[in-house]
Amino acid sequence: MTDTYLHLVNSGFTKKLAKQLGLPRPAPLRRHRAGDPLVDGPVLVIGLGGQDGASTPQPDADALAQLLAGTGDTPGWDLDIHRHVATTETVKAVVLVLSDVEHPDGLAAPVAALAAVLRRLAPGGRVVTISRTSTADDAPAVAAARQGVDGFLRSLAKELRGGATANGVVLAEGVDVLAPSALGALRFFLSTRSAFVDGQLLEIGSDAGTFPADWEVPLSGRVAVVTGAARGIGAAIARTLARDGATVVVVDVPAAGEALARIANEVRGTALQLDITAEDAGQRMLEHALGRHGHLDIVVHNAGITRDKLLANMSRDRWEAVLAVNIAAQLRINEALLTSGDFTDQPRIVSLASTSGIAGNRGQTNYAASKGGVIGMARATAPLLAAFGGTANAVAPGFIETEMTARIPAVTRQIARRLNSLQQGGLPEDVAEAVAFLASPAAGGVVGRVLRVCGQNLVGA
């Protein structure tokens, strides 16, 4: 499962050779460890294009800068915030506030300010745009400017090197730039938690959500169920949720019980051996969580299977097995959760989709149908939870280094790894970080969305 190529092009003689040959040189990505600082270096907040002209400060940027620096009365994030940078200084992150841009012409000044510092963006640096959703109700010029950010951001992400990423926070109409989810998403994108998230724009639909008492353990006091938790991405999700303070119930089929017990003991949670396709799976999860831990707040639908075949050769069994596990079980469990009356304290449902469900994948008509289904389900389930401050969202992993992808033939695997802006496969913990963010209290304004963890995979937009 290790990416030998990545190690070779980053060390010793082979590093030099790769450089001379002009081979792609993916950078080792830094991942979050408990206690790491949010950003370990200067953060530049660019906010130009206020109402008084293209080069005047922008109020959203001022408000953000104040909070990030921790100046003023409110406790902030204690970042090293700069509004201008000397030409020789390295920058760790740039927040590009474009929320007030009302005409494509208004992009020029802030983008130029960003361009001026890009060469001094540190390895593993971050660019995060803050913009507003483009809708049909907007004036054409406003809509053009807002939609323009989308194309700009995705292109910029493809230009960044050295493990740097660019992502965007997109505020729906009326959502404040300091709304919990806007700040939660900004924090996620700035941090090493989003190491393998690149070129993504996440819409903040509302002001809902609450700030955690402690950003280090945002899930403190929350009880989470993670399905398919015995290995791979599910195990990483269990570990990450536990690290973020949650009490975790790990669920997997009885046959995976040995690995499941190991994870349960590692995260100091409880193991529930359960086939999620059972009629009463949802009730049994609830019963276990309520009985042992008093409540249930987060459900992560991670369990999934593949039964790949070209459609012409696909037996009905293979089709039905994948749909049963990957989507029908989730629908049935959600129904049980929603009707129970016990899933009402800012509940969170996070489902694992896949870039296959967005872009399609040859040989995976069944899998892609199920994963596309997950995306639709999340979108339609979110409104049902809104009354309780709840959300449903999906995370779509791209190429992740797991037991599953380790079985891909070597050459195909090497190519698949490089087909994204970060030129490498992600790790299970990268997916887990995105899940943990969407499960957090601060993400209450992210409703029915899909967050891709794919290093900006070249396929599937």
Partner: protein, 445 residues
């Protein structure tokens, strides 16, 4: 003391406090030489404990005491249970002790710890048992052992040489453990063959018990009954001995292996006898307060237990017939009859062990002369007997069987009570080498 002389007491007499069965965990039982052949007793007991910890969220918890044992035990494993605790996710401050009572080890561990809980000595406890027929200790002969010990004590080369010179070629043969009774030299199977013949148990009746055991265990697995009782180990997900597809014809085709030189027809086959097995089991026990404080369920209570032994050496009773005496005494103490039991778990050492026990209880002469009753002790409703299969299908790692029985029974009781709203009651009976028998009553919460 004959059962009939006792005054009946109230059925649910409660001592100072009750000992609750909270749940259990075991490994799927494997055949000898199967997937656990390279696993030691310590490995398996640790795995069974860790599965229990995972199921009930006991990581880092200081349990009052853990008691477990193994029948086939290496001398280096003198502190097996404590070592397993130290290897597990439990708090290292959890005390432990080993015990051994042949095949009744696991049940006796439950009984002993329950009594400590009832007396207030413990708030929580884990009973367990483990056995590996694959990794059984093989000892050197007494002659070689003495020579080696003398050699080790010798101070000079001459004495060392002298010590080794005493070794005879015959001393070099290793002595492997057997199931032979030390006092009779007969294997357990041959002993049971005598009892089978004495009670006239037919081959067909034994095969029927075996078939039911497989069918019922398979059905219970299919229904998900073991989802929260068993944790897979080393790739084994269900009991390896379980044959869901066995049939009366297949069982009838097997060659008898025990009692082949008795004057009566030999009836005991590999199909209606338990195989040598590897595995481990654990049971979580606690006071009601402890269970409540830890938000853990109470499935059942351990009400009482009775042990018995028979004089098999002089042929007065069959080697495995002790429970036939223990159960009437136990039930009489509580004013109960067989009809008052919702479930009976009678360990299937052999199909005929169950049948000879039932036959003795139905026999008027046995009831009058041996049990001191006015008539036969009674008839067991077969629909209440080993309802989810037993050792013939699951296998029988000697010390692990008690834990399997207690956890299974407790779950059955809880389910029955949830269904009927009336506290259900069960009997557990385990026969053991040495003419021993341990029996217990469990009642639903």
């Amino acid at each position: 003391m004959p059962a009939a002389r006792r005054e009946p007491a109230t059925p649910t007499r409660t001592p100072t406090r009750r000992a609750a069965v909270i749940g259990g965990n075991r490994l799927p039982f494997a055949k000898v030489g199967g997937p656990y052949r390279d696993s030691s007793n310590l490995d398996m007991l640790t795995a069974a404990l860790d599965g229990l910890v995972a199921r009930f969220g006991l990581q880092g918890e200081r349990i009052g005491e853990v008691a477990a044992g193994a029948v086939l035990k290496h001398s280096r494993d003198f502190n097996l249970t404590r070592e397993a605790v130290l290897s597990s996710a439990l708090a290292s401050e959890t005390p432990a002790y080993d015990l051994q009572q042949a095949c009744a080890t696991g049940l006796e561990a439950v009984v002993g710890l329950s009594n400590k809980i009832r007396l207030g000595q413990l708030d929580s406890a884990i009973a367990g048992g483990v056995d590996s027929a694959s990794d059984a200790p093989v000892a050197v002969s007494d002659g070689l052992r003495r020579a080696l010990l003398t050699f080790a004590r010798a101070r000079s080369s001459r004495h060392r040489l002298a010590a080794l010179a005493g070794v005879r070629p015959a001393d070099l043969a290793p002595s492997a453990p057997t199931t032979a009774e030390p006092r009779t030299g007969l294997s357990m199977g041959e002993h049971q063959a005598l009892t089978t013949a004495q009670w006239g148990i037919t081959r067909a009746a034994q095969d029927e018990i075996a078939l039911l055991s497989h069918q019922r265990l398979a059905a219970a697995y299919d229904a998900g009954f073991f989802d929260d009782l068993v944790t897979p180990y080393r790739g084994l997900v269900r009991d390896q001995n379980l044959r869901a597809d066995t049939s009366a014809e297949k069982l009838a085709a097997l060659r008898p292996v025990f009692g082949t030189h008795l004057p009566t027809p030999a009836t005991m086959t590999a199909g209606n006898s338990t195989p040598l097995s590897d595995g481990a089991s654990t049971v979580l026990l606690g006071s009601e307060e402890w269970a409540h404080a830890h938000a853990l369920p109470v499935l059942a209570y351990v009400v009482d237990a009775e042990v018995a032994a028979v004089d098999f050496v002089h042929g007065k009773d069959g080697l495995l017939m002790a429970p036939a005496f223990a159960v009437p005494r136990l039930l009489a103490r509580h004013g109960l009859t067989l009809a008052d039991l919702d479930f009976l778990e009678i360990h299937e050492a052999f199909a005929s062990t169950v049948l000879t026990t039932l036959a003795a209880w139905e026999d008027t002469a046995f009831g009058r002369e041996r049990l001191g009753l006015d008539a036969a002790f009674g008839t067991v409703d077969r629909n209440r007997l080993n309802v989810n299969g037993s050792s013939l299908a699951a296998g029988h790692p000697f010390a692990a069987t008690g834990g399997r029985l207690v956890a299974t029974t407790a779950k059955l009781l809880a389910a029955r009570t949830a269904e009927t709203g009336r506290p259900a009651r069960a009997l557990i009976s385990v026969c053991a080498a040495g003419g021993l028998g341990v029996t217990a009553i469990l009642e639903a919460a």
